[in-house]
Amino acid sequence: MLVAPALVPTVAVLVAGLAAALAQSLGLVPLVGRPELSAQAYLDVRPDLLTATGLSLGIAAASSALAAGVGLLTALLVVRGAAGRRLLRFASAVPIPVPHLVGAASMGLLLSDSGLLARLVGDQGSWPALVHGPWPVAVVAAYAWKESAFVALVVAGALATRVASYEETAAVLGAGRWARFRFVTWPLVTPPLAAATAITFVYTLGSYEVAWLLGPVHPEPLPVLAQRLFTSPDLTARPQALAVAVVTAALALAATVATLAALRRTATWR
């Protein structure tokens, strides 16, 4: 009962929203005509859906992996009190309050073929198409920049109070630097790192604005495809948009369930 105030709106929004999207994508809430259970919307959007899914999973995987790596390294350096700790702390905290759209715009100004880096290098003609090009480099970079700060924050918070004393204990038991990382720090850091990376992955998978601003024009990532179809003047494309949204939600749910299942198996979680 005590959790009801939090649980009721969460479940209501989630269930009602998803149910409505699912129903509309399956032809149960047509704009005109009789409701009829049909997978037509999924079939209509299938070619675009497959490429968009591949692209979105690629963007999410690449940016989450980068964010995990950079975030973990930053967290370890901050927690261990490495030289330049204050600067590092500041640098790792800055991306957190910056809105995604602002971060994406900055990344665009930095990486585009008329951007700051291209100008600094001086040869704008041979500058690779990082923004809107065939490879979503700028999208991955923008997400990785923003989410690495989030990963660093979560991991540093989980480690801050414990890692130093456990590492000292390991040292006086004969563990050198590498053994301390392998047998102590890594097992301790895995659960918060996995959780933070999974959140990053799911967020990136479903996030629209950065992919829209910096991503390839074609193929489109899932959220951009869904948004384009949903706002299309052709109102019959609405079920297709919601079919894309349902697939996106299903992928996010699958990633979450897989992460939780993996976390439950780790020793520290038990």
Partner: protein
């Protein structure tokens, strides 16, 4: 497995112009023996242990194991294990894997490491808990496992940093017994840090008393309690009796009368404070033969099975002094009762009085705390020594009286 530990002129600075955390520490711990580092908080005892372990780098001095300097070696290559106040068992490993940790990081397979660890777990009577997680153990069990884990690393020196402080009294005594057994079997060189002088007495062969980062005295555990080098050491070891007086020809003269000092107490003639531990003072009937002094019971306080008495002795000249004593179990005394006091000559000692201005702040604090426990304060003019080393909770201490003006009961 065991090694002699020597510390030479070891120092560690706080930085920022503060007094050093540790200054010029010299200690010798023979192989297989147990040294207790005793002192108040901030005395530098944990710093000393961390410098020996290699967890901190000294600003001066050297640490030698079997005569070879280890000060340049990282902690993992010193062969020194340490048990901390918190057990710090690795939460991702079960009990046996925790004990197997040192073998594992040394390159053994998990199976071999676990097999090598099992006897150490048996040694601390935790053999039946191999697959438990640290969170499923009690505090005492966790500390036993931590001890087994440290021993399984086969250290040349075992360091215990207030390892038993967080345990309740019964568990702590169990751990003391366990450490005795482990020492008999494995004979490790042990250095333990404690602020509990009773624990030091129970476990150690020798005791080193630190205060303000400096070593005040290092001596045999049996003797240091009855032959403290100074009033400060006596207080840090829990001694409560300080009787001001003068020494003349090997005899201490005070409000208690004339007491012959043991021949090994070498104190020059002149003002001197008589020190005798409260446990050593024998309380008798007022007219019992052999009593060194007679006085009136000012306060009776429970101290476990014993009773702690505060007895006021007034000399024929009018000088008064308070003597603390602990009675044997079964002896009953009441406030206001006349009693006799016997101070066995082997347990008394005398040291030159200390200048109150040079004492450590902790001591001053403790004194104030002691003062708060005193039921009464008696103004006494000691004709023999008007102001020699008068303890502020003893007669004629205006500063304390100002703080606690309500001593009358």
């Amino acid at each position: 497995m065991t090694a002699a530990l020597a510390v030479r002129n070891l120092g560690r600075d706080h930085g920022g112009g503060q007094a050093p955390a540790l200054d010029g520490l010299n200690l010798d711990v023979p192989a297989g023996s147990c040294l207790a580092l005793v002192g108040p908080s901030g005395s530098g005892k944990t710093t000393a242990l961390r410098l020996v372990a290699g967890l901190e780098v000294p600003d001066r001095g050297d640490v030698l194991l079997d005569g070879r300097s280890v000060v340049a070696l990282p902690p993992e290559r010193r062969g020194v294990s340490m048990v901390f106040q918190r057990p710090l068992l690795f939460p991702h490993l079960d009990v046996l894997d925790n004990v197997a940790f040192s073998a594992r990081v040394a390159g053994a397979s998990r199976r071999a490491a676990r097999a090598a660890a099992a006897p150490f777990l048996d040694l601390v009577q935790m053999g039946g808990y191999t697959t438990r997680r640290p969170g499923q153990l009690s505090g005492g069990q966790e500390q036993r496992v931590a001890l087994a884990r440290a021993l399984a690393a086969r250290p040349r020196v075992l360091l215990l940093d207030e390892a038993f402080t967080g345990l309740d009294v019964a568990l702590r005594e169990d751990m003391h017994e366990l450490l005795h057994q482990l020492r008999a079997v494995l004979e490790p060189t042990v250095v333990l840090v404690t602020h509990d002088h009773a624990e030091a007495a129970a476990l150690a062969d020798s005791v080193a008393v630190l205060s303000g980062g400096r070593l005040l005295q290092h001596g045999d555990a049996g003797r240091i309690y009855t032959r403290p080098a100074s009033v400060t050491v006596s207080r840090l070891l829990g001694g409560r009796n300080e009787v001001p007086g003068v020494v003349v020809g090997g005899e201490h003269r005070s409000a208690l009368g004339r007491l012959r000092l043991p021949t090994d107490v070498a104190v020059p003639d002149g003002p001197a404070v008589l020190l005798v531990r409260q446990e050593a003072v024998v309380v008798t009937g007022p007219d019992a033969p052999g009593a060194d002094a007679a006085g009136t019971v000012l306060a009776v306080r429970a101290a476990g099975a014993r009773r702690a008495l505060t007895v006021e002795v007034v000399s024929p000249g009018g000088a008064a002094v308070q003597v603390h004593a602990e009675t044997s179990p079964g002896q009953v005394f009441t406030r206001g009762e006349r009693v006799g006091l016997r101070l066995p000559s082997s347990a008394v000692s005398a040291v030159p009085p200390e200048d109150a201005g040079t004492e450590e702040p902790e001591i001053a604090d403790r004194r104030t705390a002691d003062a708060g426990r005193m039921p009464r304060t008696h103004r006494v003019a000691s004709p023999a020594v008007p102001d020699a080393g008068v303890r502020p909770d003893a007669p004629g201490a205006p500063r304390r009286r100002n703080h606690h003006g309500d001593h009358g009961t």
